[in-house]
């Protein structure tokens, strides 16, 4: 895969999360429990926001963590931080459930691809606790105009494309594209200056 050739410079120390993921290779159940206790809340919150029902949300969370347990060898800490990788995996699984994608459809697609997605934190990113990170992101997105925020939420939590959002909001396609891009750029700039 071409992305394998791209290896971001790893100038940070190996994170405690990466160390825990490495322990999963040795079937370390205690390490798995620590990761679950640390991140199940944010993963479940995200998945529940997408699928809206607690039963299916719990099934997705179980699927995500079992996938982490069974495929931990495929997470490469040198190619990006753990939490964004886990959240990306959880979001994809939840959107599959939202679209009622069957197990067979998932098998037809190359589901292992998402395990190899490269996620790189920018240089200004610091290790923050989950609570402060949540407050910062909510505050920055809360400053966007309501339509702009709505467009980003439709894309992120419902998996809609530019065209689908334009149809949903009854706004021109070009306007929707600008809202989303400018909103995310403002979020990026806000995160940069907040650190």
């Amino acid at each position: 895969m071409f992305l394998a050739a791209f290896s971001p410079k790893d100038d940070r120390k190996a994170s405690p999360d990466a160390a825990l993921v490495r322990l999963l290779l040795q079937n370390d159940v205690a390490a798995f429990e620590k990761l679950y206790d640390k991140y199940s809340r944010i993963v479940y919150s995200l998945v529940l926001r997408i699928v809206q029902q607690s039963g299916p949300a719990e099934e997705v969370v179980q699927d995500v963590f079992l996938q982490l347990w069974r495929n931990s060898a495929q997470y490469d800490a040198a190619r990006g931080p753990f939490v964004p990788w886990l959240l990306t995996l959880a979001r994809n699984r939840a959107l599959d459930t939202l679209r009622l994608k069957s197990e067979r459809q998932r098998r037809l697609e190359n589901q292992t691809d998402e395990l190899f997605s490269v996620v790189v934190a920018p240089q200004y990113e610091k290790e923050l606790d989950e609570k402060r990170r949540a407050e910062r992101v909510r505050s920055l997105v809360g400053e966007l105009n309501p339509q702009q925020k709505r467009a980003i939420e439709l894309a992120y939590f419902q998996g809609l494309s530019h065209s689908e959002i334009a149809a949903e909001l009854k706004e021109p396609l070009g306007t929707v594209k600008s809202w989303i891009r400018n909103g995310l750029i403002r979020l990026k700039e806000g995160l940069r200056t907040a650190t």
Binding site: N27, Y36, S45, G80, L87, E103, V118, L191
Partner: protein, 284 residues
């Protein structure tokens, strides 16, 4: 303008999954050339997009989920350290009966037809899109309808797969029938059918309603000495006391299970039984 310039405004939307097919295809084709600059920008955009997860209202998982997950993980850890055991995931990905394959193949053909038809429609609309903004909105509308059609197809396929699975469990001679007798209460038996590949269907009729908002919870009792009951599913019967539930991926294999039991538990279920079983049935 370099080759990368035309893609700079797409990184965030690509990471978000919001690009429409023509733009997505163009960017992916460019990434496939090995452009390190764009690959890095997309990877950073993925990080930015992942931060949107923190917009979700905070919600706590149930103890039952953790209990179920940890039991599955401990069981797999034990299996890996001793002998290889077929996992629930691999059993569900094994062979499919011919009639089910034929049905799915027909659906696939239908899906391909819709995909081809929508693709052709999109191409036509794209040409008009270049002429004016009004036509561009027609494209958006057509793609919205296409997506809606795809969702309907997905719903149909999902319902069909669930129906076939329940049907297979109930009719396949390979399924094991387990009668669950009521314990110290006056209530009819429950019936469970367990198929090694497709899971468990549990049915109850004229079942006494659990008090308040409590639920009935199914437990799988492992054969292993000292094995703790594995939580499988919770249900509240309908107004007539009837229910049918499907456990598509039982947390333990039938061959490793000694018995099924039903207890009454608080809403949301429990990670370990908190009351004595009301129905019990041994595996034959």
């Amino acid at each position: 303008m370099t080759n990368c310039d035309q893609f700079r405004e797409m990184y965030e939307a690509y990471a978000l999954g919001a690009l429409d097919p023509p733009e997505r295809t163009a960017l992916e084709a460019h990434l496939a050339t090995g452009c390190a600059e764009c690959a890095k920008s997309v990877a950073e955009a993925r990080w930015l997009v992942s931060q949107l997860a923190y917009l979700a209202p905070e919600a706590a998982t149930s103890d039952m989920l953790k209990g179920r997950l940890m039991q599955a993980v401990r069981s797999e850890a034990k299996s890996k350290s001793s002998s290889p055991v077929v996992t629930a995931a691999s059993t569900t990905s094994s062979g499919i009966p011919y009639w089910l394959s034929a049905g799915i193949a027909a659906l696939l053909l239908l899906t391909l037809y819709f995909a081809w038809d929508a693709h052709r429609l999109r191409d036509e609309l794209r040409a008009a899109n270049e002429r004016n903004q009004r036509t561009e909105q027609l494209v958006a509308s057509a793609e919205g309808e296409y997506a809606a059609t795809q969702r309907k197809l997905a719903v149909m396929e999902e319902q069909m797969a669930k129906m076939h699975r329940e049907n297979a469990i109930l009719t396949d001679p390979a399924s094991v029938k387990i009668m669950l007798a009521a314990q110290k209460i006056r209530a009819p038996q429950m019936v469970a059918m367990w198929h090694a590949k497709y899971g468990i269907v549990l049915t109850g009729q004229k079942v006494p309603m659990p008090s308040g908002n409590r639920v009935l919870q199914l437990w799988l009792i492992p054969k292993a000495p000292g094995g703790k009951p594995m939580p499988a599913m919770t249900v509240r019967p309908d107004a007539n006391g009837n229910f049918v539930i499907l456990v598509a991926n039982p947390p333990v294999a039938g061959s490793d299970t000694k018995a099924l039991a039903i207890t009454e538990e608080p809403a949301g279920g429990s990670s370990a039984p908190t009351t004595a079983p009301k129905w019990v049935g041994a595996m034959t």
